[in-house]
Symmetry: D2
């Protein structure tokens, strides 16, 4: 074999396969589109995400929706785990990448992870044609909170404005919002149980992304399943929150904050 490769009869198998971009030509291409085309056509950040993550040019309303999600998830103050660890690392005098990364590593099941789960559970429930009652009570039996439902402060009579804005955008521009409307039905049911069980931002993004994938007509059923199972929405959150974490790093460096040490009095030393 080896000599066949050398003699040119057989191509040496490569160790790496890559399909999203190509840097070998005159200028880099994202999913086949040269970078100059991207600039000349006035594409936006959402289009680039679309090319590099989904390997296709999505319609403008889709890439605009992606951009709105990035903006809404860009930051949530200095107290959440991610921002906090980034702040502590920046105050230890570390560089930008280390500070960012120390914060990113807290993103997971408990921080930032509800969007993908919302998409997964609502997709499953809708596709299996569960009634809101069956879905919610079924989750309760399994001891799982419905991801995308519930809010610390917001109530049935005082909705989250961001959810309303997302819904408004989608109802205006999306060909179909069936998954999100299903979530509204679920919300109607959960609100009948407790006043704080409103649809939250994670629920709105998660279900609207299902509508985006299904409604665009550009993804096969199998591709949608793959996207939901791999968890692209977590990628959206991670990318978005990087903007905030980088911002917090700059903020601490501007403020010349000293090394953080957690106060002894706030720790219970026990056995």
């Amino acid at each position: 074999l080896n000599s066949a490769i050398k003699s040119g009869k057989v191509r040496a198998p490569t160790h790496i396969i890559s399909t999203i971009s190509d840097d070998r030509g005159e200028e880099p291409c994202y999913a086949g589109v040269p970078m100059s085309t991207i600039v000349e056509k006035g594409m936006g950040v959402g289009d680039v995400i679309s090319l590099l993550w989904f390997k296709r040019s999505l319609p403008r309303y889709c890439t605009q929706f992606i951009e709105i999600c990035v903006m809404l998830c860009a930051d949530h103050g200095p107290c959440v785990s991610g921002a906090h660890n980034t702040i502590v690392t920046a105050r230890a005098g570390k560089d930008l990448v280390s500070s960012l990364v120390s914060g990113l590593l807290t993103i997971g099941p408990r921080f930032g992870g509800a969007v993908d789960d919302a998409a997964r559970y609502f997709k499953d429930a809708y596709d299996r044609k569960l009634s809101p009652y069956e879905f919610v009570e079924g989750m309760k039996k399994k001891g799982i909170r419905v991801p995308g439902i519930g809010h610390r402060i917001k109530r049935g009579d005082n909705r989250d404005k961001r959810v309303e804005l997302l819904q408004l955008f989608a109802r205006t521009h999306f060909p179909s919002t069936k998954y999100m409307e299903y979530a509204v039905e679920v919300e109607t049911y959960t609100l009948s149980k407790a006043n704080n069980l409103v649809m939250n931002v994670d629920g709105a993004i998660g279900t609207l992304f299902l509508d985006l994938l299904a409604g665009s007509g550009m993804f096969s059923k199998q591709e949608i399943d793959e996207i939901v199972s791999i968890g692209y929405l977590n990628g959206l959150f991670v990318l978005a929150r990087s903007i905030g974490l980088i911002g917090h790093t700059f903020d601490q460096k501007r403020l010349k904050q000293p090394l953080y040490r957690h106060p002894w009095e706030d720790v219970l030393y026990t056995k």
Copy 2:
């Protein structure tokens, strides 16, 4: 003191200071702007970066320029250090955050770091009114390559299209492009030395960002120095490249690639 704090006469000093965002109210604010305003006003990703990193609303041409930089730096193929480490980690079966982070950690002096250095050195040279000759030969004496100058493939008679697009955008929209024009003069001089010493993308972004900061009239001289010394442009590269690294992670997971092991034959084992 402690009892004075408790009795409410004195505010307890806090351990953390933060100035870029606020999550205490009804909805999160970025630099004082509520998230719903951001969506309603049709702001873009560049505006959110502007609010969270620069704590002010920059004019549209500035935020558009920021978005173009993000798009141009989003990916550069699977072979560069960052993408490579991300691919290896994804193929080890690790989650998205770990894969992204393993790649981000390679960003630094040799990979992705030339933009800030270009800004620093060209700012210093221009502000000190060095002629291109003095600047370039001075760098040579110090044994430092001029960051932002030089390209593996591009030549004086075959410029990088992205550089041209950036220049075109800036000359059309920026009130002043003095730093970039200075870089063009420097390029004219370096091209007289060798045909590959053209202005590269890093040089174009670095000097045009100086023009953005100075030309917008929204930053004091001291603030500009701070931004250049902290290294905001590295943040731009890090954020941008995250799009590509996340894309490479999804790509490998879609392709179900197995554990990567570097081939023995490609390693020189020595003493």
Copy 3:
């Protein structure tokens, strides 16, 4: 409540609980043992691991076994994912911590993760009194390879010397080696199926750690279950391999290796 706290009648609840070490006194303590005692008593690295991870002083044969595991897992050459990413990051000119961390992030299900799984599956099988036949065939039905069994090069008539050394150490010093002897029985069965299905180092460490925990008489059944489910053995691998990854970082810096770029020819660019 708040006023009760202020008046001193109730202690303010702390936000953090910690039980392994205490830095408030004259000198830090690990699980109650002052650091000077540790040095004076001639304790070793294994004893410190024992104090900080298990919160108790394990007998000498246990801490010696822990140290042997650390030594055996410290490195496995430059080609495995972890070392490779560390080398790439070091060659990008990044600092020691970034280089180490970029490599550590590849440790997981496919690289370094078999020890905990070996412990989990063999514990479950032994405790449920499965015969080797039932265990191995049951795993096959579930489509899971028996972790801790199998080797690329070693064969039934050419065992791995490290496995033999671990077995020798344990049979000499451990009060009981029942889990490991069970693994030997399993190995006898798998060897009857194929000549490469020998017990590997991961299998030896995983099952002997079960013997250590059960045989020392210092852990309750519930504590052992917790240790196995949390996955302490992965910690052992992570700590051990850090020695190698730090070594590879120093190595590349000594060798002054330039930026690594994966060769284009080794990548299959496709759709």
Copy 4:
């Protein structure tokens, strides 16, 4: 050239060079020593560090000293930056590697970094034959605190026991302790200025490591300079502290601690 390589006349240049370990044979070797030899000879963790970092077998007193350093630096309670970030990440439900890494990334100039600096400055001062007065006052003029000197709690009449233990060990086993004795002279001078300016653990480890390198007779002058400039002692701290950070991760998982959110009241939100 390419065809010459193919025809076997020229060896293809490899892309990676590695010198510390070899995994190609029957069993992995560390700096030429097979792993079975390491176990059979009863080597310890310090010997493995010695092989993989220094590529030679150091005498027993050296590897024992390395082990003592690892033990002394293994943990320093839950309040320091590293442990804190690890705790926050573990409480976000992330895996062991992510939790460890989030904490490791805080290690740097302000946290854990004084040992290498102590070695650097004391080596320079001693080698240039500066008197303690010249050294300390010279540093003062440059506005740099002498690394390795100073303690929050300890005083001239209440030394740090760990420093005393390190000194005792070295004076008993090292052929020469000239760098450390020089640090004692420096301490005598600084104590005449202020009672808290005692030699601290970082100073003791940093200068004694210089004595280890110089006294062992196994390193050339150039090799010692390289070791000090690359910063091996930071590696020692990073490795050691990993034991503690892994311990804190296990601790939080055992305690089933929920997501950490920094208290709003402890943050000053300002402009």
